[in-house]
Amino acid sequence: MPEPHDEVDTWLNVQVKPLLPPPDTFERVSGQARRRRLRRAVLSAASALAVAALAAVVIPRVAFPMQETGRHASAAHVSPTPAASPQHPTPVASSPSTIDASTARPLPATRSDPPPLSVTFVGTSTGWVMGPAGAARQCDRPAAPACMVLQRTDSANTSATSWRTVGAPPARGPSGPSGVSQVRFLNLSDGWAFGPELWATHDGGQTWARIDTGGLRVTALEAMGDRVYSVWARCTGKGPAFASHCTHFFVYSSSASSDAWSPIPVTSSGLNIPHVHSAASLVLTGTSVYLLLPGGHLFASTLTGASLPPLAPLGPVPAPCQPGPAQPSGQPSGALLAASGSDLALVCTGPQAGGGQRKTVYTSSQAGQAWHRTGTAPSPGTATSLAESSSGTLVLATSVGIQVSTDGGATWTAARGARPAGGFAYVGMTTATQGVAVPADPSRRAIWFTHDGGSTWTASRVGA
């Protein structure tokens, strides 16, 4: 048996096996670095302007009585330069200089611009957006032909994001038991369109196969590692409310590269829920899958490769709120769940009143076994989607804009940048700094990006 220190040496002396960078890594890295340099410069300049403005306001008030006394007649000529130098940069919460005024205008539509219903990214540069060709109402009709459009970008991390049309599943928009509304890709090959039907591609969208769900509707789907997980529910909702009036929920999983779906067993009385007006939410982290069910019951299982550990209830205490009715995306409207590692975040929404809504924020650092109220998000607007970046920043999409919290929900700051009328329906964080948001009104034919952790959002037109 070797000596202990030899074991350390053995580990240290193993030759490091180089890992070649994925394609375009340098371009992506240098683009992000450029944006960070620019942001620093903007903040410094804004700080200088703010201090200069402060000096312009304060100095005359100080100087005026001095001029009156005649003792310091030159006080009005105090040079603002020292005060204006950015020696003490301060964050500028709403500096106009950071607002992209051009995005406040409606973006011109072209015939190949799909109104975005859903967006998915597999990295900072590559993503897909899915929407109906033409007017959504026409594509949602039960007798409509296949009319969904899928577009892909490989330049989302640049200032000139371009899109090209790729193969979409031959489906129409969501209507009762048929159609699709959401898209997710795990990598450049494996992707799924769902809500309520389920379609899969394993060649980047060149071909799609419809998955037989036995009449169940797919209301949520997430993929991570080499597996995909989804919620299949027995629902009777009609029209675009495909995820409403659901009574039974099941979690199915498959290897990402195949279509071998099987249910994940449940270690309690099951997922048969009497709350017929409530939806379910599915969240994946690096090592676990969380399922929030009507009644506020949270289940979890581990992501362990090929095996499928059962979903187990997380402690006796339910989450502090219930998911509530489904939104058009299929996601709950009453409880917005997000996760970063084992730190869960939950925004519980109250009834809408006077254009606002109570939004109470809870967090759990114990994987949902105990919840702590950490604060409230600003009341204006209706909360629609919650994301937590890998650095723990909470990003909340509402019907009036986006709010950001870097302290677990205790305090919130309104994101800068132009906001679409009607706000946002979805927000997701691809990395700690980059994220994407889908407007509530898809007819704007644009999605919004952030490259600074959610603080600033700018519109990017979709369409080939």
């Binding site: 048996m1 202990p4 220190h5 074991e7 350390v8 580990w11 240290l12 193993v14 490091v16 096996k17 180089p18 890992l19 070649l20 960078p21 994925p22 890594t25 340098f26 992506r28 890295v29 240098s30 992000q32 670095a33 450029r34 960070r36 340099r37 620019l38 620093r40 410069a41 410094s44 270690t267 982290t285 690096g286 090592t287 676990s288 979890a300 299982s301 581990t302 362990t304 550990p309 059962p310 187990a312 209830p313 997380l314 402690g315 970063s340 590692g341 084992s342 730190d343 650092s365 114990q366 994987a367 076994q369 890998s390 990395t431 700690a432």
Partner: protein, 164 residues
């Protein structure tokens, strides 16, 4: 903001091509998968390029940043594993999660306090001389030597305990 001239870009690309594979490979031995290694290596380069003009020793900065990012990653996954271990404890009888019990050198390095782990990784694993490690960490060389000695002693003791 320092300007990023074409010559800077060429130099940065040259450094990237020369250092990325080894840095990513270095990180890979400290994390569980290639994707995380690439994510950390790319983030380290992003931070490097964002401060390109103000750095005297970019390679040291790269490894210093990567060390901190690996530490952050360990903290996140550590919290998650601990929480899920607790989950498995409350769901009695359910074969939900049984974390591996084997002790390996990486886990022991991970368990070292920051004060000892940083110099250990930078000196023993990344191969920087003590003088550079001291400069990176802002500590006297003597302190770094003492920290390295203490780190080795702790690892040796921990390995001994793991066999006991």
């Amino acid at each position: 903001m320092g300007k990023f001239r074409a010559t800077d870009r060429a130099a940065a690309e040259e450094l990237f091509n020369a250092c990325y594979p080894r840095l990513a490979g270095w990180v890979r031995r400290l994390v569980d998968d290639d994707d995380t290694a690439h994510e950390i290596a790319a983030e380290a380069f992003t931070r490097l390029l964002a401060r390109w003009s103000s750095l005297e020793n970019p390679q040291s900065y790269l490894y210093m940043i990567a060390t901190n990012l690996v530490r952050d990653h360990w903290r996140r996954t550590g919290r998650e594993r601990r929480a899920l271990r607790a989950v498995s404890a409350v769901s009695d009888g359910d074969p939900v999660f049984h974390p591996a019990q084997d002790v390996d050198v990486r886990a022991l390095i991970q368990s070292l306090p920051d004060r000892l782990r940083q110099p250990f990784l930078l000196y023993h694993y990344a191969g920087f001389p003590i003088r550079d490690v001291a400069a990176m960490l802002g500590r006297p060389e003597g302190t770094v030597k003492a920290d390295l000695h203490q780190a080795r002693s702790r690892l040796r003791a921990a390995l001994g305990e793991s066999r006991a």
